[in-house]
């Protein structure tokens, strides 16, 4: 009887095994949503969310995750800024629309919320962000000195802010090149920093213009702020192309003259011989008919 019970238990255990395993499979992973604020040139504002989850002990970016962005303290329908889906890097971006202006103007401190309902593999997630509204300015003074300053909206007054870290650089191929050996600058009590431009002969555009950029990156209070200015401090770049030149690598019809001459001469020489010989056959024919 006891043996019979053990067999019964084993059968039940085997039958339950798949569902137990399945139960493990449906365990969802936590979804971490990190929200960031960006202000470019004090004009356009956008939000960026990064979706991550800890899988096998490592944080991994989660793609194809639908997210919703809200402005304000509560994720209500009237506060909805827009929706997005995370890309391969686990990021989704939303430009704050003009319709949010009324909500934006209500307070010097702004809250944003991002929500995701999750999916079969991931739990729902939420990310919150609070920023203090701030502006960056950039200018230059004689002697190739760059000045930048930050002001923040405190109560209703734009006030200079001290002890904020800046990065100052020249825009190069999507990245920033430092203007001298200093990596970062910290604003003084007037909210200002200054940096000497020490780069020589950087190629600029056709007029020699370079774009100088001052940025505050991932600041806890102000988010990501960037401003830029165009200065004629570079060397003039003249765009040259070999596209229409005659080279060995050019497109059809643009082979080097020497190659054309050589090739056509050889072909003509050999085919002249062939044509001559064909005429000789004709000559032999005539001789035979005579």
């Amino acid at each position: 009887m006891k043996k019979y019970n053990i067999i019964q238990l084993l059968i039940v255990a085997v039958l339950l095994m798949p569902s137990m395993l399945m139960a493990q499979d449906v365990d969802k992973n936590n979804l971490v949503l990190t929200l960031k604020y960006f202000n470019d040139n004090n004009k356009s504002h956008h939000l960026l969310v990064q979706a991550k989850s800890k899988i096998d002990g490592k944080f991994q970016q989660i793609a194809d995750m639908p997210v919703r962005f809200y402005i304000g303290l509560e994720p209500m329908v009237e506060n909805l800024l827009g929706k997005g889906v995370t890309n391969d890097k686990g990021e989704a971006l939303l430009v704050i629309p003009p319709q949010a202006q009324a909500e934006w103007l209500k307070s010097p401190i702004q809250n944003f919320i991002v929500l995701s309902d999750g999916n079969a593999k991931f739990e729902e997630g939420r990310g919150d962000l609070t920023i203090t509204k701030a502006k960056l300015k950039i200018d230059t003074v004689e002697g190739k000195i760059i000045t930048a300053s930050i002001i923040a909206l405190i109560d209703t007054v734009w006030t200079p802010v001290a002890s904020v870290d800046f990065v100052v650089g020249v825009k190069r191929l999507g990245g920033l090149l430092n203007v001298n050996e200093t990596q970062t600058y910290t604003s003084d009590s007037t909210g200002m920093i200054s940096a000497e431009y020490k780069r020589d002969s950087l190629p600029g555009d056709q007029k020699g213009n370079l774009v100088l950029v001052a940025s505050v990156i991932d600041n806890e209070l102000y988010g990501n702020l960037t401003t830029e200015i165009e200065v004629p401090w570079g060397s003039k770049s003249v765009y040259t192309t070999n596209f229409d030149h005659r080279t060995l690598f050019a497109r059809r019809g643009h082979s080097p003259i020497w190659l054309e001459m050589l090739a056509y001469t050889i072909v003509l020489a050999v085919w002249s011989v062939i044509i001559y010989l064909v005429f000789q056959i004709n000559k032999i024919k005539k001789l035979g008919i005579e």
Binding site: L248, F249, A250, R251, R252, S255, P256, L259, E260, A263, V267, V270, W271, V273, I274, Y276, L277, V278, Q280, I281, K283, I284, K285, L287, G288, I289
Partner: protein
């Protein structure tokens, strides 16, 4: 020369009807050709998907076959031009054999390129959009030129023979007689005609040598102008030409033996011809061996990382069996057989010729395919079958069909025209007797 002796030569060398063996041979070749054509129709209908050609190995046995045909065609210039210009008279009975091998090989080289294209209806794009800077365009130009020159070199010495054959109207039959009349009824054995013909052959012999060198060099440049392990070599032009001379000479040995035994031409293609051709093959095999040593030993000594995988694949890896077979069969064994006088008998020379030709075919395969399987960047995220290449049955059938087609052209030519020049043989025998 006595008329009886002359008639005996004509009788011996006139084209003969197929016997039982001949019919079996022709039918077998036709069956292979038809099967190849069926496979090609499938390729046309379904596309290159029916082949094993994929993203990495885009040149498989079609291009190996192309290089092989181009190589074998060089024999025309070797036997006809080089030996003729150097006043080597013993090669006279072999000139036409060499020329027809050259013509059929170069014709099928052109065809197999079109087969490899997959979409032959787009062939005209090569002429409309072709770049003069590309070796592919040079190859098109030089192949067509070589084909025309080879045809002329086949035709001019045939003219006096056509006159002889036209005289045997009853023996020829209606269609052959019409063909002979169309091709050579105007030949009247006039001294002026001979003068023009001799001059034309001389001009052709001079012209064909640079063109033949060009065709093989340009074909080698199809590979050598790309930056790939195994192909990135300055040795390639000379390496291809020496290999082409060897395989061409090997094919002549085979053809000599078959025509000698099947057409009872022992009096014209003598043991001495095998002896001399055997020596030529030994010389050519040694030259080719020298270029092979340059081609493999120097990169192997340096063993650059990019070349290492390719070279080790050939020496000890995936392709090592084919590699050592090709090296042994196309060079070492023929040298071993033919270097001794006893090996230069017709039978052994025939065996050596077969080894050269078969080994050379596999050598061409090794030139084309292993390089494509060893790109500089590792093969990632591709199906497993992309990483190896073994031709599909359609590819084998088409390649086999093309080889059978080339043999058919030679067979039918030997059925229609004298495979040994009759008039030249009579003249040379006459001169010999007078001397």
């Amino acid at each position: 020369m006595e008329k009886i002796a002359e008639n005996k030569i004509i009788e011996d060398l006139m084209p003969q009807q197929f016997g039982k063996k001949g019919m079996i041979w022709v039918i077998s070749l036709l069956v292979v050709c038809v099967f190849g054509f069926y496979a090609y129709c499938r390729q046309l209908y379904y596309g290159l998907e029916v082949t094993a050609l994929r993203d990495y190995v885009s040149w498989g046995i079609y291009i190996s076959n192309f290089v092989f045909f181009v190589a074998i065609s060089l024999v025309g210039s070797l036997i006809t031009a080089v030996l003729r210009l150097t006043n080597v008279h013993w090669s006279t009975p072999l000139t036409r054999i060499a020329e027809i091998i050259a013509v059929s090989a170069i014709a099928f080289a052109s065809l197999i390129i079109i087969v490899d294209m997959g979409r032959p209806d787009r062939f005209y794009n090569l002429f409309i959009h072709g770049r003069l800077q590309s070796p592919i365009i040079w190859d098109v130009i030089v192949i067509s030129t070589y084909l025309v020159i080879s045809l002329l070199l086949l035709y001019f010495p045939l003219l006096p023979d056509l006159k002889i054959m036209i005289q045997y109207k009853e023996r020829n039959g209606k269609w052959l007689q019409k063909l002979y009349v169309f091709l050579g009824s105007f030949w009247k054995d006039k001294p002026a005609q001979f003068k023009i013909t001799t001059k034309a052959i001389h001009i052709l012999s001079i012209t064909i040598i640079p063109v033949a060198f060009a065709i093989h060099t340009v074909t080698s440049w199809l590979f050598a102008t790309t930056y790939r392990p195994g192909w990135d070599s300055t040795n390639f032009g000379a390496y291809f030409i020496s290999g082409a001379f060897l395989v061409g000479a090997g094919s002549v040995l085979i053809a000599m033996y078959i025509f000698r035994t099947q057409y009872k031409l022992e009096k014209y293609i003598t043991s001495e011809h095998f002896n001399k051709m055997g020596k030529v093959v030994v010389l050519l095999a040694l030259i080719y061996l020298y270029f092979n040593i340059n081609e493999f030993l120097v990169p192997a000594f340096k063993m650059k990382k990019s070349e290492e995988e390719h070279l080790m694949g050939l020496f000890t890896g995936e392709f090592s069996y084919i590699f050592w077979f090709a090296i042994s069969a196309s060079m070492f064994l023929p040298i071993l057989i033919l270097v001794f006088k006893k090996g230069r008998t017709p039978k052994w020379a025939f065996v050596a010729g077969i080894l050269v030709v078969v080994g050379s075919w596999f050598k061409r395969y090794l030139i084309v395919t292993p390089t494509l399987l060893h790109p500089f960047l590792p093969m990632h995220d591709v199906p497993k079958n992309y990483m190896h290449y073994f031709p599909s049955w359609e590819e084998w059938a088409i390649a086999g069909g093309s080889l059978a087609g080339a043999l058919l052209v030679i067979t039918f030519f030997a059925r229609i025209f004298p495979i040994i020049p009759i008039h030249e043989t009579i003249t040379e025998t006459d001169t010999h007797e007078k001397v």
